[in-house]
């Protein structure tokens, strides 16, 4: 009698793969909008000339008036207010600029300084003609060529930031995401990492600060931005990257600004989210390899056993 087993196997594999294709790639393609990454090139923003860091420093500390709101800890400029008061005043705590030059794209920083609402893609919320001013005022120039002045300031921010190889996932996340998003799997709150407290009173005081900060944020953005603890599993790398590149693509009218991270910082943010939401991925790879080797050996022995037992049966 003809052996039908290979044909049966082909039929089963075919229908299984067909069903898989239909309920997974095909169905998800029908359900979700898909956007390709632009590689964090920010093509819609103008490029900036080469800047001079020394002139930039004078502008950042002086006429640019950056330090009126922003801390620059690496240059020993403290924050004018604590995070909770800042959020009460501006809606969100203005970022410490120590590593802005390493995390954000240079073109984006330039456009941001000149016209924050435009660079952040929140002009639908902040329309100056209707008196809706973005909390960060635009830089109107210090008397010279405004584009050159902006380039100088960006050059200064880049000169004080950590170098590319020293940019850590934590720096990238805290600078780019951490003032709006919590990540409680790594104990991150919008006002910093939650420490261990000896006294319950201190812990409650900290939590009160977080809640007050979140209240300001909710008022500013319309809703509290989500906790990102396992966004790497619920959204995945591709969605997160393309969303961060241009939030308006997926969610027209969202209050989430374009963050303006560069490609390296985006990778670091993804790594941070993986450490939080998929912490055992390296162990999964190594254990997976060992289990596969074990199972293949088991299958070979099972095959040999069958051959031995069935030798007499045929």
């Amino acid at each position: 009698m003809k052996n039908k087993e290979p044909l049966i196997l082909v039929v089963i594999v075919f229908f299984t793969l067909l069903t898989y294709y239909l309920v997974e790639p095909f169905a998800h393609h029908q359900m979700h909008k898909h956007f390709e990454s632009e590689g964090f090139a920010y093509k819609d923003l103008p490029s900036i000339p080469k800047g001079d860091a020394a002139r930039g420093e004078a502008l950042v500390m002086g006429a640019g008036a950056c330090t009126g709101c922003h801390a620059i800890k690496s240059a020993n400029v403290p924050a004018p207010m604590d995070a909770v008061s800042s959020a009460a005043a501006y809606g969100v705590n203005p970022p410490d600029l120590s590593n802005a030059g390493a995390v954000f794209d240079a073109k984006f920083l330039g456009s941001l300084i000149k016209n924050p609402a435009h660079a952040l893609m929140v002009e639908h919320k902040f329309d100056a003609s209707k008196g809706q001013m973005h909390p960060m005022p635009p830089f109107y120039g210090a008397g010279g060529d405004i584009n050159q002045e902006i380039a100088d300031m960006v050059a200064y921010l880049q000169s004080i930031a950590v170098s590319k190889d020293k940019l850590t996932p934590t720096i990238a996340f805290e600078t780019a995401c951490g003032r709006c998003h919590a990540d409680h799997y790594v104990k991150w709150t919008q006002i910093g990492e939650k420490p261990m407290f000896k006294r319950k009173q201190d812990e409650l005081a900290f939590e009160t600060n977080v809640l007050n900060y979140q209240d300001s944020l909710t008022k500013y953005l319309g809703k509290l931005p989500p906790d990102l603890s396992i966004y790497i599993r619920s959204r995945g790398e591709h969605y997160i990257k393309t969303f961060v590149e241009n939030p308006q693509n997926y969610l027209k009218g969202t209050a989430m600004p374009r963050v303006g991270v560069n490609a390296e910082a985006a990778d670091k943010v993804i790594e941070y989210l993986e450490d939080s939401g998929d912490a055992k991925r390296h162990e999964r790879e190594s254990v997976g390899r060992n289990v596969m080797i074990f199972i293949v050996i088991f299958a070979i022995f099972a095959l040999l056993w069958k051959k031995q037992v069935w030798r007499d049966l045929h």
Binding site: I8, A27, Y185, S229, I295, A302, V309, D312
Partner: protein, 404 residues
């Protein structure tokens, strides 16, 4: 009282008290299986292995899972996934096995349908198998509630709503099932109980019934041949192993089972480590939120075909069609009027019925997941009608079948 003598060995000691040799013969060495079978006959063993994987991984998960609406999500996604040693492994094994077990169940079912293994004395095998399918479905659904993610919550909402019976408005029944107006703590606790105790007990009992139902009619074979098991067993025991049409359950049949299990486990662990996404819906990695309905709500893939029989119709008709789809497979042995217990390929119109049913259920499965927009709505509607039509046609086309 039985007469006991001084034991000559441990085996003898056990034999006098438990008749282990007799048990071994009845259950294994002289439990006769036809020889003309193919690897589809190993699906039962694969299901046993997968159920064992589910049970063992479930026991480990149970040690850390918290059935509390405030803690459940993080106990799964943080405690088990990040803090517990190999907790991620148990969870992925459990999640993937829960999905793959249905693939094997469907292969097992369609094997039975193809070879007519529900006919002529094998009706109870089919019925106990269908009871197992229902129990596994309930087990899968209750387990899906436990991580308390968005899809847990909203699937719980949608499925329990079905019990309102459309125009019957049995809202009291829905509240009774939920223990609340909406899925909440009482709901989570009772589905936890169902998932870890009541339904597994039922499954274990039904597995016993399913195996027991095989004893008298014996396992079917791939040629629809009627075998005289006693005569063939004598032949085997007399030494004519090659000439006999039967083989021992162990080690003969078991050796082939294990070979197929080996191949299956390679596939299974590949999914566990490298392609687990299909079994863990991304939406369920958002914590449950009763104020935020997900854009798309859909069941896991193995429920999609029956979901799509519900969805294209108006509420009441949809519920009736859905109820029909849930119970109609039970009636298969009685709707098939043909006198033949042979593979579908030799059964005239039934051959086409079989492939039409398989393809229709795959279409229903696909349409059950995509949003109900055109052309999917129309395709789903006609696929659902085809499903019902095929079942109505079954007694007529099998009645016309000639004896082979």
């Amino acid at each position: 009282m039985a007469h006991f003598t001084k034991a000559t060995s441990v085996k003898d000691w056990l034999n006098q008290r438990l008749a282990v040799e007799k048990v071994e013969k009845v259950m294994m060495s002289e439990y006769w299986i036809p020889k003309n079978i193919n690897f589809l006959w190993a699906m039962g063993m694969i299901l046993v292995v997968t159920f064992a994987l589910l049970l063992v991984s479930g026991i480990f998960l149970l040690m850390y899972y918290q059935p509390n609406v405030n803690l459940a999500f993080d106990s799964v996604n943080y405690t088990i996934m990040s803090e517990v040693d190999f907790g991620w492994l148990w969870r992925h094994v459990h999640g993937v096995a829960a999905s793959v077990v249905f693939l094997i169940i469907y292969i097992h079912m369609f094997t039975g349908i193809y070879y007519g293994s529900y006919k002529k004395g094998r009706e109870m095998i089919w019925i106990s198998g269908m009871l197992l399918f229902v129990a596994f479905s309930a087990e899968a659904f209750s387990g899906y509630m436990l991580p308390w993610g968005q899809m847990s919550y909203w699937a719980g909402m949608v499925i329990t709503n079905l019990f309102s019976g459309g125009s019957l408005h049995a809202d009291g029944l829905v509240e009774w099932i939920r223990g609340d107006y909406v899925p909440a703590q009482a709901f989570l606790n009772r589905f936890f109980m169902l998932h870890v105790l009541l339904i597994p007990l039922a499954i274990i009992g039904l597995i016993g019934l399913h195996f027991g139902a095989l004893r008298i009619p014996h396992v079917n074979n791939q040629d629809g041949e009627e075998i005289d098991f006693d005569a063939e067993a004598k032949k085997y025991l007399a030494g004519d192993k090659a000439g006999s049409k039967v083989i021992r359950f162990a080690n003969d049949f078991m050796a082939k089972d294990m070979m197929v299990v080996g191949v299956y486990l390679v596939f299974f662990f590949y999914l566990v480590f490298y392609n687990y996404g299909f079994a863990m819906d991304p939406v369920n990695f958002d914590p449950a939120n009763g104020l935020k309905t997900p854009t798309h709500i859909y069941p896991e893939w193995y429920f999609l075909w029956s979901y799509e029989i519900l969805r294209p119709f108006s509420t009441n008709i949809g519920l009736i069609a859905f109820a029909f789809a849930q119970v109609i497979f039970f009636a298969l042995p009685f709707l098939d009027k043909s006198p033949n217990t042979v593979p579908a390929s030799r059964r005239g119109l039934f051959k086409y019925w079989f492939w039409a049913m398989l393809i229709d259920m795959i279409i229903l499965t696909a349409m059950g997941k995509v949003p109900p927009v055109e052309p999917f709505g129309t395709i789903g509607f006609y696929a659902a009608l085809t499903f019902i039509g095929l079942w109505i046609a079954l007694p007529f086309i099998t009645k016309m079948e000639k004896k082979v």
